[in-house]
Every structure is written in C-alpha cells, then in structure tokens.
Amino acid sequence: MQARDELFAHLPEDVVLHRPLDLPAGVSEYEIVEYFKARAAENATWPSFLGAGVYRHFRPVVVDTVASRGEFLTSYTPYQAEIAQGTLTTIFEFQTMICQLTGMDVANASMYDGSTAVPEAAMMAARVTGRHRILAARTVHPEYREVLRTYARNQGMPVEEFGYDPKSGGIDLADLESRLNRETAAVIIQSPNFFGIVEQVNAAAELAHKFGALLIFVFAEAVSLGLLEPPASADIVVGELQSFAISPSYGGPFAGIVAAREKFLRQMPGRLVGQSVDTHGNRAFCLTLSTREQHIRREKATSNICTNQALIALMATVFMTLYGKEGLRELAVQNLSKAHYLARKLQPRFSGPYFNEFVAVPNVPVEEVNRQLIDRKIIGGLPLDRFYPELAGSMLLCATEMSKRDDMDAVITVFQA
C-alpha cells in the first residue's frame, strides 16, 4: 500500500492546493450545539400569523421518532429492493394515501417541493397534449409561478397568466375562457388559492377540457384536503406536503407530489414504487417504470429529477397515519374555525369561501400593524404589495390549530386601532 502522501502524487502540480484550507479548526459536539443555539436565538420563535405556503401545524412526536430511525434516515434510494423493503413499503403507502386524498389514480414517490412540482406538471401536460402554451392563475403562489417561468423559458413553453375576480378573490372564469385556445396545454389553478380562497375547480376544469387542455390543480396547504372536495375533475394534481408534520425550517426541506389520472402514467416525472412478488411468491415492492427516468433515458427522460424527498415523504406518511380518516378532518375543521374566528372581526377583503387563510385590510398601514404586533412578540401577516401591487394595504393572515385565542384577540385589537 502507498503512503498517504503518494495517494495524490499523480495529480498535476498545477491543480493541487498547496496550503491548508482557510477554515477554523474543528470543534467538539458541545461547541457545535452552542454555535447553533446562539444562531437559533437570533431568530424569533413567537406566535405567528404567517402562512402563504408555509404553515405552522403541530408535529406529533411519533413523526420524529420514526424518521430518526437509522434504518430510514441513513439508507439510500431503494434500488436494491431486497434490502430496502422498509422504504419501498412506506413509499407505496404514501402513494396510496396521496391518491386517496386527491382522488387521483396514481401518485409518485415525491418531488423536491410544491414549487418545483408545478413546472414538472406543466412539462408533463405539454408531453401529453403535444401543445406548449401554459395558462396559470395569478392566484397560484407567486413563488411557484416564478419557478414555473424559470423552467418554462427554455422549453419553448410560453406562460400566460389570467386574473382573479376582485370581489370574490377567486379566478376570473371569463378571463380564463378568453385566453384559452387550441394551443393551450394546461390551465394551472391553486385551491385554496394564495389568498386562501377555495376555487371553482369544476368550472375551471370544464373550460380547460372544452379546449382540449389539461387542468393542473395545485395545493399549498395540504391540511385543506382533509375537508375540501378532492379535485376529481383535474387531470394532474401537484402540491406541497409541508403542512403534514414538516417543520417550516426557514423554507425547506419540504416535499412535493405529482398525482394524475392513470392514462398519463407514462409521462409522470420522478420515482414510482410498484407492487410485485419475490421468488417465494411473497408480496414485495420495487422501483418501477424507470424507463421514464434519467439514468436510463438520459436526455430523453421525462425529468432530470434523481433525488426525491423520501424522508420528508415518510414524515408526511406517519402524520397521515396518526391523524387518519377522522383526525385529519377534525384538524381541518379546527383550522377552519380558528381562521373564521379571526376573520369575522377583521372583515376579509374577498367574499369567496376561505379555509385557514384570508386577506384583510387594517385601518392603519400594514407595516404599522406588524410593528405593533412585534412589540407584543407576535409575528403578523404577509403584506401583499410585495407580490400584488394592486393589493397594497392588504395583508394575508393565517390561523391554524396552533393559533391561540389570546393572540388572535391581540391581532384584532391592533387591526382595529
């Protein structure tokens, strides 16, 4: 065997780093914990009324108990099915639960997050229809639309947006209809939309289908699926699962999903787990239909995605299992009740039905409201002018099962000052 110094002797002289890395010396576990505790203390941990795609829901203890098991945490993508049945079985259960929740026939093993799932669905719709034009509602999460534009730009996939009804806060169906044509591959709507409003999904689907386009349904608040009619009239459903026991964690890691009707299966992006048998005839699972994927198809693949979000999807699976059929509905009803308690005193700006988020207009500037709430160690809502200049003076507020009545009363007081 070579000595340590000889290991790199073959490297050309001009590529080798001839000095130590300019980084501090390594530290102990104790010091690492101290460093991150100090950083954590610089972030506020107060009650908050922010939603807008990232929601504060209680995380049942069992979620981390399961996700911390080394067998799940420290395993790789389950290519070797014989010693990955744990991961494969949980993904199969995950795919099933996503189908049950969304009313779709098939679901994949997860995507990076909701925002990246949207362009993946748009590209899927383009492959299915052979068309390229995408129509996205302005009520879809603004950051999802930004990510869609980044991906679409080089796909020859023009993205056009259609508006919302200034009264209801839901999509403007007339505007949608006027923009639809025979080149439209897909219409993208989100429900509840960015303003928290429950959209007219069936009406949008009917219009899209009239022109031969697909309807892509997006959800950002997964808890709403416990209560709202599943989007059975949609062709592709994509969404963000952060609400299912995933910490806000300053924006990630989260997990997205793509679900669809069975006939579009071959155009799905991402990993899929299927049921099979082993040589003894026992039920067993494995990754399947991989001829869609980059490691086989290379430049002709349905997506370049390689990693999914297996551990995050596992957390969501444990969450769905714990709450179950009744619990998820109860959780959703609590969210609905809290948001309506807060909203009834604040007069929502839009008249459409809302779930756990709504837009309100305070008597004083929104910055002033949030400043006064910070004095009370409460984080207020999201000022909307950042994404919707025409809604300056409005803020988006969210209440969940974790919002306490006292804190909501404080918001109401400041709002009405």
């Binding site: 069992v62 799940f72 395993s75 993508t77 709202l228 300053y250 009803v333």
Partner: protein
C-alpha cells in the same frame, strides 16, 4: 464464511391499510378555544368532501410498531458499510439532526422579517463562505434542492451568460462516462446533447474534444474525478480548449469527496459547479432525499444567480431581490435550509484539517480495496484512482455470473451492494466507494466477502446467481412490476 451476519427473526407486517379498524385514531387535538364552524355553512356544501375512503384508522402504538417493523427490513449506514459508488454513503453525525431541530431554526418561517431571521441568514452566510473556500469559486447560491437541481441551475446560468453575450448557443458536451442526470438536465435547459467518447485510459480525449468544440457549444459538463474514480488530469487543457471558443466548463460535484482540501475546482479553471451536500457533507440520504445542491460560480456568472442573494448591510444580513440579470427562482424560498444547517455542522466539526483528513482517508480506503481485490476482479482502467474504484465482471461473466449477481450475493454477506453496471463505459461494472467512514475491520470483512464470492462463482455459481438467500425478501420480480403496474393499495 459469512462473518458479518447471522439469521435472526424478522417481524411480519401488513400494509397500514390492512391494519385499520374503524374509529381508531393516533392523535388527539386540543380542545377548540373558539366557536366551532360548520364546514358546509362556511365553505358551501358542494365544497366539502365525504370521508377519505380507505385512509388509515390506527392507534399510536399501531403506528410505532408498523413503522418500526418496516424499518427493520432496510439496510442502512448505521448497520454497516454501504459501498455504493458515486453515492458517498458516509456516516451521518447525529448532532447535525439535533441542531437542525432547535426551535429557532426548525420553526423559522421564510417570510418572517429579516431582522427576526438573522440567525438563519448567518448560518447561510457562514456555509456559503466555507463552500467557496473549499471549491475555490467566487460566488454561490444555496437554493437548489439536490444535485440534479443544481445542474439545471448551473446550466441555466451558463445560458444566461451566453445570452447576455448575444448567443446562447446550442449544444452541451457530455462525456460518455457521465451520470444520466447530466444529459437530462441539458435537455431541460433547452440544449442539445453531444456525447464525447472517453479515450482508452477512461479520460477525456483531448483530440476528440478539440473537434467537438465548435461555436455552437455552450459548455462541457464534466465530473471530476470522473465516474471511474480517476482524476481528469488534462482538465486544465480541456478548460483552455473550451474557453478558447468562448464556451464554459460545468463540473458535476458528485465526487467532491475525493478533492476537499486537496484540489479546488476554481483553481483548475471550472466556471460553475454544484455540490451534493447529502454526499460530501454528510447530510442523511433518508432513503432518497432530501438533498442539497448549492451551485458555486466564477465572478462572470455571479450577476445571473437565482434570487434572492445574501447581502451584508452594516451589521446585519438581508436578502437581495434586486438583481435584474438573475435567472429568477429555481425553488420557492431559499433552498433546503434544514440540510444547509446539517452541512455547516459537519464542516464546523471537521475544520479545515479534518476535512482534508476525511478526503485522504476516503482515497486511502478505496485504494486499499483496489489493492486487495485487484487479483480477483478485472480492472479495465488501471490508472490511479481516487475515492472509488471500478472493476468489471469480465472474469466472472465467463463463468456465467454477472455484476448484478455478485451484488445480490453481497446482501447475504451482510453488505449493501456496490453500484451495479455503472458507468456505462465499463462492461459489467462494479463501482465501489467505501468513504472515510469505514474502519480497516469493516473493509476487511467486505474484501473477504468479495473474495469468498469469487470462490463460490467457481464452485457453486448458482449460489450467486440465485442470491440473496438468507433474507426476508428474495429477488423481486421487477419485470412483472413494470408490465402490470400496481402503484397503490386497493381494498
């Protein structure tokens, strides 16, 4: 003789749906402190769903038993060596898990005011600084969620720069040894792919490269060390060829575990590269994600980085969205922050010297395996290797046993298989990456297993071709799974 494992009882477990009984529930909500709202009244009856058909109904202990039993059907780094080539399956320190769950970090909302998020922003800044020192690059975005996502970001940056110069060009050159994500990424970024052949040493063929680099070429995507585990020693010349024609060089950082502290891509001319935080920087693979794929660039590409970028403003940090040349956003918010926390914890624990030592140990381990297994397996490209070694099944396939069979037999010996049949330029590849995590004891067990299997191939090849044997699940019929896809449980 199989020394690492012996049989033990494994629990059976049905699917969670088959465990359900009506009315069971594993989670209790607090009492509602506001009036209960009637969903039909608030949302309209037509918007309210009926029950979620088939959804689980189980108790908390059912949940714990179910997932604990399933977990025991997995192999994991925590159980032993995981020699998947190009995957860098190293130990995942548990302190990283603890700090990522601190309340101030785990519960920070991405839209909370910047003044109340300084801790999160400082973590991102410190990680960015460390990664720039490690790579020798000038600027970085932490936004991409994984390696392939980083590749896409990097190629979009290349396109944006070339567009700003008047012509985005048409083609990306990709060596035939590359990961499949590279060509798939180029296609999504709107480029045609031209594969370039490796020479008989398994390296970029400079002559062929020269011919391929025309005015239509936007960039070369190169993995270094390449997927043979061999350092592309002509990299500086390759970069010169591309630069001379106004094209750029992208480096896939999947194999960065071979270079940290030894050589820096920025110093050997790379323009843009991604890092896999879930490989080199020890964040857990979690059965296939989440990952992290920061993209580091030279100054010329800095104006195009995704928004927002971190910016110092006096004593505090802000997020800068006012970047008119930016390619936009590749992901909502700021990336997989929780993964960034873990990666920084790993870097702090090691320090500069520790990171270099990890690289040396990883390369040492791969060379040890090569040295010990070279008498038994064909080594198609005998150049010095770095952090991984690629054999072929040339000797064994003459006896009717393929790389995939040997891989399955390793399972009986208590190891996860190596990477099978990749890179494609090696016929019947066995791609082995031990990482610095493994001790000599574990490496010796692995080597002994591989040598024992060679003996079995000569005496009782069916023992290998029908493996694994001593497992809960024997070979899974993947053909049947694909022919008639069953992708969800039904009652």
């Amino acid at each position: 003789m199989i020394r690492k494992v012996r049989k033990h009882i494994v629990q059976n477990e049905p699917l969670i749906f088959e465990r359900s009984s009506p009315g069971k529930n594993g989670c209790q909500l607090p009492a509602l402190d506001v009036p209960l709202v009637d969903p039909a009244a608030a949302l309209g009856a037509q918007n309210v769903r009926g029950e979620i058909e088939g959804f689980p109904e189980v108790s908390e202990v059912d949940v714990i038993r179910h997932f604990t039993r399933l977990s025991t059907w997995n192999y994991a780094i925590d159980l032993g060596m995981y020699p998947l080539g190009s995957c860098t399956m190293k130990y995942n320190p548990r302190v990283n898990e603890l700090v990522a769950r601190l309340e101030g970090l785990a519960w920070a909302h991405p839209y909370q005011p910047e003044a109340l998020s300084q801790g999160a922003l400082r973590i991102m800044q410190r990680l960015a600084g460390a990664l720039l020192e490690i790579t020798g690059m000038d600027a970085i975005t932490l936004q991409p969620a994984a390696g392939a996502h980083g590749e896409l970001t990097g190629i979009l940056l290349v396109r944006a720069l070339l567009e700003s110069r008047g012509n985005p060009r048409k083609k990306i050159l990709i060596p035939d040894s590359a990961h499949g994500t590279n060509p798939a990424t180029a296609a999504i970024a709107g480029y045609a792919v031209e594969n370039i052949r490796s020479n008989d040493q398994g390296l970029i063929d400079l002559e062929a490269l020269c011919k391929s680099v025309t005015d239509d070429v936007a960039a070369l995507m190169v993995t270094n060390p390449n997927t043979l585990g061999v350092f592309e020693e002509n990299i500086v010349k390759a970069v010169e060829i591309l630069h001379a024609k106004g094209a750029l060089v992208y480096m896939d950082g999947a194999n960065m575990n071979a270079l940290v502290g030894i050589a820096r891509p920025g110093d050997f001319g790379i323009d843009v590269m991604h890092l896999n935080l879930h490989k080199t920087f020890s964040t857990p693979h979690g059965g296939g994600g989440p990952g992290g794929g920061p993209v580091a660039v030279k100054q010329i590409l800095e104006p195009f980085l995704p928004i927002p970028c971190l910016k110092s403003s006096g004593d505090s940090l802000t997020l800068d969205y006012d970047r008119p040349q930016s390619i936009g956003k590749v992901r909502a918010f700021y990336g997989n922050f929780g993964v960034l926390v873990r990666a920084l914890a790993y870097i702090l624990a090691h320090g500069g010297d520790g990171l270099r030592n990890a690289t040396v140990d990883a390369v040492m381990n791969a060379n040890y395996i090569r040295h010990k297994l070279a008498p038994y397996f064909d080594l198609p490209y005998p150049r010095p290797n770095m952090h991984e070694v690629v054999f072929s099944d040339d000797f064994q396939s003459k006896l009717g046993v393929r790389t995939g069979d040997i891989a399955k037999r390793l399972i009986d010996y208590g190891f996860h298989p190596y990477t099978v049949s990749f890179p494609l330029i090696v016929h019947g590849a066995l791609m082995i990456e031990p990482t610095e995590t493994e001790s000599k004891q574990e490496l010796d067990l692995f080597i002994e297993a591989m040598i024992d299997i060679c003996g079995e191939i000569e005496k009782t090849p069916e023992l290998v071709t029908q493996a694994p044997h001593d497992v809960r699940t024997t070979r899974v019929d993947e053909v049947a799974a694909a022919r008639k896809p069953v992708l969800r449980w039904k009652p």
